[in-house]
Symmetry: C2
Subunit: 305 residues, 2 copies
């Protein structure tokens, strides 16, 4: 077989379409009773976004040697589940009692487009749907069932009180306080890093990678997660709301510590570039198979929104 | 073995203690980082309550013929998971954008004892914990893994947008509207019935009952769920806040339709009694083994809070 050059743009487009198609298939239809709730759930989950987490799921899932329908179904379920968790966290984060944000992905936030009570339920039900999608294994084969249960454990651990939700709680407590760099890292490792790492893990679990391979992926994810947040802080400090599709400059307005305020803009950019290198190097043993994951690390660091 | 008379009070006491002990063991400790979130999660989940759902899990779990550690672990996980889902729904329900309630189980609600943002995260993280507890199977035996995945499917289906959360959404839309009896039944079947039925199902799944047995349990649960809600409406109309441990008379104040307003107090009480009979009769094929479930049906109808 001739080794064709890797066309990352093609890869991004096809996996992006696969994500949208999986979301459309695995979310309840907008005509499911009660209609308004299901419409609002689709509004929250299908409003665009970078889809970084599903892309990480698919990229990691391509590292395995076992393919087939069962893998495809597991990857689609994982992509949808992690995007549902991400979407739920954004909907709840935007509520008046949290960040009180009106704009998300260039559109009114869910509580603005619908109402607060509906936004609360949308977040709740999107979380439930994430676990339901993962639990709906198509076959009774023992391996599949183990994979699904393992994915559920990983997602719950990454998104719960010792992961994403815990990071949110620390973030709440940190407003007005002077977190140092170590405190900031720990908060972000929980608030955003855990779910990004989980995306990579879910792909690896679905592809039934070895524990050594999973460890390499964990090193990649840790660097990627940190780079992601540093770039987020850079963009919050330098880009405008229209480019971001969400309110820019919020951290400074809320007197929140960020990598930019703690490290300075130049050093933050340099750190992001170095983390990209670390992420790529950690994938060395996978060779060419990991090219999508490597390219995604570049995308995370070079993005403009 | 001498067939000893069934002491329901003893059964209630031991299963109640088992519930509290399982919650204590399977929730994160209050000294887990971040502390305040984990303290608030324990405040929400360990503040008493009737523990009807865990009791239903244990009672249904006792109908099986396979016992042992694996069953015990599955029942404890199910009892904690369903109580975490119930507790999360109460915390979110009490928020200002929903029912705006200050009192729950005789104590300040979570957003009053802590703050709104923490209450939001407490509900989110309790839901996650429910699925995490179910996914943490102790063994790799195929049967156990299937049981756990099946329980997760059941819990997600009962609590998500086509179950409990969907019922909440319908409830929101119904304020000031004139729901008829059929509409009221459908709303409550989703809002409270689905999770009560799920409690019974989780016990049955853990005990690996046959599909015929599961169908009998479903008939029982449907009658029980409806009776539960009718009695709730009777108590809301007749009892005081101190006895209930929550604000009484809220439905009338909010002009919400209830079984009492639609059927009248006498007929509502009669319907509850008849449903208790239906629930008990549906368990006939289980014989004496179902005595705890039968007694629980009585408890649901005869309770004073």
């Amino acid at each position: 077989m001739i080794n064709q050059p890797f066309q990352f743009e093609d890869w991004l487009r096809t996996r992006g379409l696969r994500t949208e198609s999986a979301l459309d298939a695995l979310l309840d239809g907008a005509n499911t009773h009660p209609h308004r709730l299901h419409q609002a759930m689709r509004y929250a989950a299908q409003g665009g976004g970078k889809r970084i987490r599903p892309l990480l799921v698919y990229a990691a899932g391509e590292l395995g040697t076992v393919g087939g329908e069962s893998l495809d179904a597991a990857l689609d379920a994982a992509a949808v589940a992690i995007e549902c968790i991400h979407a739920y966290s954004l909907v709840h984060d935007d509520l008046p009692c949290m960040d009180d944000d009106d704009l998300r992905r260039g559109r009114p936030t869910v509580h603005k487009a619908f109402d607060e009570a509906t936004a609360l339920l949308v977040g709740d039900a999107l979380q439930t749907r994430a676990f339901e999608v993962l639990a709906n294994a198509n076959t009774n084969a023992n391996g599949d069932v183990q994979v699904r249960l393992s994915m559920i454990r990983s997602l719950a651990s990454a998104s719960g009180s010792r992961g994403m939700a815990g990071g949110q709680a620390i973030d709440l407590e940190s407003v007005g306080k002077k977190l140092d760099l170590a405190g900031l890292k720990q908060m972000h490792a929980m608030k955003t890093g855990a779910l990004l790492s989980c995306a990579v893990s879910l792909g690896g679990i679905a592809a039934q990678l070895s524990s050594t391979q999973m460890q390499h992926l964990a090193t990649y994810s840790e660097a990627l997660g940190l780079a992601f947040q540093i770039v987020d802080d850079i963009l919050d400090a330098t880009a405008d709301s229209q480019t971001l599709g969400k309110t820019a400059g919020k951290d400074a307005a809320n007197d929140k510590p960020t990598y930019v305020t703690l490290m300075g803009l130049d050093y933050a950019q340099q750190a992001a570039n170095e983390l990209q290198e670390i992420a790529i190097v950690s994938l060395a043993s996978f060779g060419d198979e990991a090219r999508a994951l490597k390219a995604l690390a570049g995308l995370v660091v070079k993005r403009d929104k």
